[in-house]
Amino acid sequence: MNALTLLLLVLPASGCVVLLVAGARAEPWAARFGVVVAGATFLVSLLLLGQFDRSRSAELQGVVDRVWVPQLGLRFHLGVDGISLPLLLLTTLLVLLCAVYTLGHLPDPGRPRAFTGLVLLLEVGLLGTFLAQDLLLFFVFFEIVLAPMYFLIAHWGGHGRTRAATTFILYTVLGSVLMLLGFLLVRSYAGTTDLVALTARHGDGIPRNVQLLAIVAIGIGLAVKAPMWPLHTWLPDAHTAAPTVGSVLLAGVLLKMGTYGLVRIALPVLPSASRTAAPYLGALAVVGILYGSMACLAQRDLKRLIAFSSVGHMGFVLLGIASLTAVGINGALYANIAHGVITGLLFFLVGAIKERHGTTDLSALPRSLYARAPRLGGLLAVAAVASLGLPGLAGFWGEFLSMQGVWRGPGAPHRLFYLGLLVAAALGTVLTAYYLLRMVRRVDQGDGSGPPVADVTALEAVAWLPLAVLVVVLGVLPTILLGWSVAPVELLLSVRP
């Protein structure tokens, strides 16, 4: 199993190297090669799933632990537990689907070799972030993601791509530099950067004021990525300018690095400061929910609308974390995955709509997609209602549990405050339902006029159906995910006897 963990990183990395070394002669087969490598990586993650012992989901499994940079105390320490496993599967699945989609939909200006290589490099960074069990290693993988995403946006993006890509990378690096300072601060007091050791000692040895400083630094770094209002301003431009595959991976996986980091690092390593910071996080999360949904109401561009809806949905994830209850955090982790699946699908669909109509401007887009391309229109409707949290679909459980966590959450003195947050978040769900239904009505319904467009092609069906199926499965059987995360969340929250 340890070999599988390592293989998860080695496969995409070596695929990337092969494409680099092969040079221009790889252009004809690069996209297919990408599918093979991403497929193999997905298979490895399935094998990992098969070998994962569910009854011990709180323990790290498939551990790899080597000294890498002794002078920094940095160890190459990887491991999988019930929190990271779903994210790993989500990543390998989305990258595979993106690779499949790229076979027929390589964005301008082409160059499949570079495109595939960057997607694979991105996958290394994403998987590494979810595998890392050392603060500095986490930071390294966190940073690996930046350059490929920058180039995906800057070279294959749409209007305003250079500016969007630059904003994305500068924002994120400013955050991650602060995060690094926080990590080094933790290390200078705790004497280690090993997450297992740090989790076990629950902030022992780190004075409270240092914890507060560290959680502000680390929290800002992760919150930029999540994104938390008011640090979200890079997101709408980046999502809108990115090519379809870039948007899918950005919304589907990259944002999760932030919330995953909060659960994996901030809560267990700095428990006392987390309790202090939680109400603030909760307040900002709720502002994000309301802000995101109101911004969506004002959007005239379909892609931008989906982008802003991420700010709202990730607000629910942050709110669940801020509740500091097991229910809330399980809900947050669930919403993480659900958002990845649903918004990944939505960005695929919006990309297809843009390809067919040449625009995503809601005022210029012809109506009646149901009539003109029933399957495409139907999928859009399903994804939209999943996104608004309809019970029975994936989007429901995460937001429901997050809010339940807030309800059950801390007693006095914050009880009233959290109830206020809950009311505001509930208002957010209403607004979300409103703008998504309005979007569906605007795009899907009508008198049947407008140019006829191609319905879902076979290739698109292959790329999208797994997500559509997951939307339903996760909605009907929430326990398949919750079964993994309950035990490790208990461990993270457990207070020293």
């Binding site: 680099l20 040079g23 890498w68 940079v69 002794p70 002078q71 920094l72 200006p109 570079a114 490099l121 960074g125 500095l136 930071f139 390294v140 940073e143 690996i144 930046l146 350059a147 920058y150 180039f151 800057a154 070279h155 250079t162 890509a165 630059t166 990378i169 500068l170 690096v173 400013l174 530099v177 602060l178 690094l180 300072l181 080094l184 601060l185 290390r187 200078s188 400083l213």
Partner: protein, 495 residues
């Protein structure tokens, strides 16, 4: 005091060999006479041989400490691990510089090699100099030939560049000499070892001595091109032959770094409350000014010049934390950064040297001239992108990332949070222009220069560009190995 000193020739062999080599090269050039038509010029080959030989002579010195030119309780020349490490970096850098010079047109190789070796010998002495007189003289030995090297192309731009640097250098040296005079007046010694002891007495730290201590830092700061002594660097780099700009950015800076370390952690260690805050301000200003300056540049060499000012700021950061952290940790972080920076920065210069079209002045190459380099000449373009990633500290340039983490760690441990935050801001500013430059390399090549044709053109100019391409490959190898095994560079002088 003994009148006859015994000299440890093994300890001083590296600078000695280089100095003798400088004379040999000059004589060889005279003997050979004009040799434009000759395919292979033996002079740079001899210079390379001298540098490698000096490098091999470092091998016996790698463990322990050898001191020579001693008075009873202090020595003027000490080949300790710090000195030997810096000497190795200097020699390796000089080898790359010679390789680059072989790809440049219109350089008189005899004079060039003589001046270069003379300057290198000075840098080697700086690394081991442990008294103020030797230190300042050795720094001048680094500087004076380098001004002649800057002016070697004999056009208006290079003459202007040399004069700028020369005047600023004189001012910095004069200030340093004044400082040394103050220190000597107050303590009666020039030996760092004795200064260290006598300054430990609170009574010895009179205002005039402390003023002297501060003023003495001027000359090393000039060599480092640290703010406020940075003004000469951009114009001088731009006007100088490309290989000399590369030389100034590493060897000359390296001499400045080691002089700074010898002064701060050696002789003036006890007065750290006076100079450490000053160095912190200097580091912060240098990081910000250098990176902000680079943001506006359109020329490649000027961009690298400003970026190297900013990078020097990162090197000063750990030194500014003196008195609050283990000195060995601070020195190790600074030296590791210098070594890694040397490899990635020389690599970037080497790519420029190899990519400059024949006949064009390297100083005039604009960023847009390298547009699409990764497509027209993939090896050079991808290498440059990697070097830029290293300089920015962004993966896949892992070595740059790790040495930055190491440097970040020092102010965090020292409790100088504000310095770490300034460094973080500077890093983000730096990223903006490195990424913009790297993105340009992958952009669509300019019209009228189809990829195939450009490859043909590249093949035509290859014989001349070959040494520079070799230097690129060498630096790429070094940075890749250091990225995979950062312990190699972080382990330098590690406590």
């Amino acid at each position: 005091m003994t009148s006859v000193q015994s000299i440890d020739y093994a300890a001083i062999a590296p600078p000695l060999v280089v100095a003798v080599g400088a004379v040999v090269v000059l004589l060889l050039d005279l003997v050979l006479g004009p040799r434009v038509a000759r395919a292979v010029d033996p002079v740079p080959a001899v210079a390379l041989f001298v540098l490698v030989a000096a490098g091999l002579l470092l091998w016996p010195l790698r463990h322990g400490t050898r001191a020579t030119f001693c008075v009873p309780d202090a020595c003027s020349y000490v080949a300790d691990p710090l000195a030997v490490t810096i000497q190795l970096v200097v020699l390796a850098g000089a080898v790359v510089v010679v390789l680059l010079s072989m790809s440049e047109r219109g350089l008189p190789m005899g004079e060039y090699s003589f001046l270069l070796l003379a300057s290198v010998s000075g840098a080697l002495v700086v690394a081991a100099a442990r008294d103020l007189a030797t230190l300042i003289i050795a720094l001048e030995v680094v500087s004076l030939p380098s001004f002649a090297l800057v002016a070697l192309r004999r056009d208006a731009a290079s003459a202007q560049a040399a004069l700028t640097a020369f005047l600023m250098s004189i001012v910095a040296t004069a200030v340093s000499l004044l400082g040394i005079a103050f220190v000597y007046a107050g303590t009666g010694t020039l030996h760092l070892q004795q200064l260290r002891v006598s300054l430990a007495e609170p009574a010895a730290r009179q205002p005039v001595v402390l003023a002297g201590v501060v003023l003495t830092f001027a000359a090393p700061a000039f060599k480092l091109a640290a703010v406020p002594f940075h003004g000469w660097a951009p114009d001088t780099y731009r006007g100088a032959p490309l290989s000399i700009a590369a030389y100034l950015s590493l060897v000359s800076k390296g001499a400045g770094v080691v002089a700074l370390i010898s002064l701060s952690f050696g002789g003036f260690a006890a007065a750290e409350t006076t100079w450490a805050p000053l160095l912190a301000v200097m580091a912060a200003a240098t990081m910000l000014v250098g990176n902000l300056g680079a943001l506006r540049q359109r020329g490649v060499v000027r961009l690298l010049a400003w970026s190297s000012i900013g990078q020097a700021g990162y090197i000063i950061v750990p030194l500014a934390c003196a008195g609050r952290v283990d000195p060995a940790l601070a020195v190790s972080a600074a030296v590791a950064y210098l070594a890694a920076y040397g490899a990635m920065n020389l690599g970037a210069f080497a790519v420029v040297a190899a990519a400059v079209p024949d006949g064009a002045s390297p100083g005039a190459v604009r960023l847009t001239d390298l547009r699409g380099l990764a497509r027209t000449r993939p090896f050079l373009g991808l290498s440059l992108a990697f070097f830029l990633a290293c300089l920015a500290g962004l993966p896949p340039g892992l070595v740059g990332l790790f040495v930055k983490v190491r440097v970040f760690d020092v102010p965090v441990q020292a409790g100088l949070g504000w310095l770490a935050v300034v460094m973080g801001v500077a890093t983000v500013i730096g990223l903006a222009y490195y990424v913009r430059f790297a993105a340009l390399l992958f952009a669509e090549p300019p019209a009228g220069l189809p990829a195939a044709g450009a490859e043909g053109a590249a093949r035509l100019e290859q014989p001349r560009a070959r040494p520079a391409v070799g230097a690129v490959a060498l630096m790429l190898g070094v940075t890749l190995v250091m990225s995979a095994a950062p312990a190699l560079v972080l382990g330098l002088l590690a406590p």
